[in-house]
């Protein structure tokens, strides 16, 4: 084990005025692994993603991505560059598609930087040079592959905003994959999905892990998905890490159970999850 993990976060801190949303958080995530990040509402999970992907500038700590092209300090990169150069691509808790554009167009926009270079910033594109046409065909092929995998081929030419909720979630993941991630950050991809859709999502994540040399960070409240796919679970509460380990171990951790079921915590989990955890506790 000489190679460093894909992502190293050390002492990350994010304050909003008096509120500390992420507090001295250190964690690692490896390539070819699914690292789940769980915790009650308001624990700071989405805030962690916002820091990783450059939407927030952390008030302290370091985040290093060991990219195949060399180590990158994410805390010193801003905005779109984290996706463009460091290939950290995310999805959003409340889906953010391009609703008026078609499903296929959404996947082409994700390949913008590659296509832009191939079109020589539109010149080669305006004159329809072969180089650009080849790149465009490749982009379409890639989009079509992903559409087939998330089962959206037959709605490829519909406006993304008209798709049902579950299909929009799948499209957002396909779009992120088209953006060539090295680290894929999924913020509650199973939220709002029914049981069948959730298990299909789990299968898709396992497939991606098996085929691509990328790391996946997964924020999720649906414990069946978390327990089913993750290699490694990190539990946050009030911005702090309270547990870190294999899914089975975390599930029986006293601190975790207290955080979720604690008497003083109103922001508890959905009943299904709580029941699941209680069942896990009972089985121990």
């Amino acid at each position: 084990m000489s190679a460093p993990p894909l992502l190293e976060v050390a002492d990350l801190e994010m304050r909003f005025g008096g509120l500390i949303a992420v507090d001295q958080l250190s964690l690692t995530a490896a390539a070819r692994e699914i690292t789940a990040i769980i915790g009650p509402n308001g624990a700071g999970k989405t805030t962690l993603f916002n820091c990783l992907t450059g939407f927030y500038r952390p008030t302290g700590g370091r985040m290093v991505l060991h990219h195949p092209n060399g180590a990158l300090a994410l805390d010193r990169m801003d905005g779109y560059r984290i996706a463009a150069r460091a290939n950290v691509v995310r999805t959003f808790q409340n889906i953010r598609l391009f609703p008026g554009m078609t499903v296929l167009e959404n996947l082409l926009v994700a390949q913008h930087n590659t296509l832009m270079r191939a079109s020589s910033f539109s010149l080669a594109g305006l004159f329809g040079l072969a180089r650009f046409r080849r790149a465009e065909r490749a982009a379409l092929e890639r989009a079509r592959d992903w559409l087939a995998r998330v089962d959206l081929l037959d709605v490829a030419d519909l406006a993304a905003g008209t798709l049902p909720y579950g299909a929009q979630r799948r499209l957002e993941i396909a779009r992120a994959m088209c953006a060539d991630p090295v680290l894929l950050c999924l913020d509650e991809p199973a939220a709002g999905l029914n049981a069948r859709e959730s298990s299909a999502l789990g299968a898709l994540l396992l497939e991606i892990r098996a085929e691509q040399a990328i790391g996946i960070l997964l924020i999720e409240h649906d414990m069946s998905v978390v327990m089913g796919v993750s290699d490694h679970v990190i539990v946050l509460d009030h911005g702090r890490k309270i547990a870190d380990g294999a899914p089975a171990a975390v599930r029986h951790d006293a601190a975790v159970i207290k955080a979720y079921l604690g008497e003083d915590d109103d922001a508890a989990l959905p009943p299904a999850v709580a029941a699941d955890l209680r069942a896990g506790q009972g089985g121990a």
């Binding site: 391009f98 030419d157 953006a179």
Partner: protein, 430 residues
Amino acid sequence: MPSAVDRLAVRGAGQLAGRLRDAAAAAFVTLVLALPLVGLRTVDQGGALVLETRWDWVAIGVAAVFVGRLALGLFAHLRLRVPRVVPRVAQGVAMPWLAWAVAGFAVALPFLPFADRYVIDLGTTLLIYVMLGWGLNVVVGLAGLLDLGYVAFYAVGAYAYALLALNFSLSFWICLPLAGLLAALFGIALGFPVLRLRGDYLAIVTLGFGEMVRIILINWQSLTNGPNGLPSIPRPSFFGLPFERAPAEGTTSFHQFFGLDFAPEHRLIFLYLLILALALLTNVFVLRLRRLPLGRAWEALREDEIACRALGINPTNVKLSAFAIGAMLGGFAGAFFATRQGFISPESFTFIESATIVAIVVLGGMGSQIGVVLAAAFLVLLPEIGREFAQFRMLVFGLAMILIMIWRPQGLLGHREPTVRLGRAAAPRP
């Protein structure tokens, strides 16, 4: 204990009272506005201005508003269902035939029997607005950046052309790209400070930018000749052949070269065909750009800027390119305007022009090319037709705009054609 029926009756009476109050308020506003605007009129009586009162007109207007507002309130439930504003992606209802028919008609127009000077001149004006609409469509329709100062780029193009042609005697074909380039630079200059603004704030700042450019044109006497404008701007020639009855020594004019009788229509037709060519070129350019990654990024930016950033798209570049290209097209139109008029002054570049162009884009259906043509035709031709109504012209015009926005809030042609389809993309697989 009031019964249910009583309570309903009370509620109904309360509603009626509310409606009456509402109608009275509307009537009061009308009264305040109409007293000076309609009620008082100055008439010329033997050289002296006399104030004439028309209280009966005021009374009619106030009564009409009261009754109309009351009727609107009482029959609100009968109102037309307002369609969705979200641009729908149509399923293969593209209308290439309409576009081709319009283009064919435009080319043939100057040679049709009814095409006199007035018609051709009106056609030329219309095409300038079409071109401006297509240019602004890049910024407002595709990139979703509400720009209320577009006339600034039109002005920059016009003045750039005029100054280059007057001071350096450069020909139209050299001045045209230079004017476009200069306007594009202005577009980038405007783009930088407003990068972080959106929606209403962006609209206000761009509006201010438009006014700034106009005021600079008025005050920079030494360069622009201030409010007096720039006269005798060189007219374009037909590949070196001027359109003049008596050309200067040593030059042949258009009618002499082709052995025609001199007719002032020649120049008009040439100008018409020139702006038609420029407009069609603009159209092809914008349509092509829309299908390129850049064009798709414009639309993606309009849809969701945060998602764009999460995908590694640099919003700064995308916005600046939209501003620059939109401004460049406006600059071309401005250069043409200058050479057509032969005279420009800051008065031609007021806010009302910006407003008209934005109205064309919004009315046409954001992002729709043929919609822009229809809307421009509506906005340019209606006031002409409305001349019959004399003083009620603007009233009719405003009413027509309101009705259209109620019936079709997504614009005349608010359907969005996908830039690529899987069906087509799938066909030529190697």
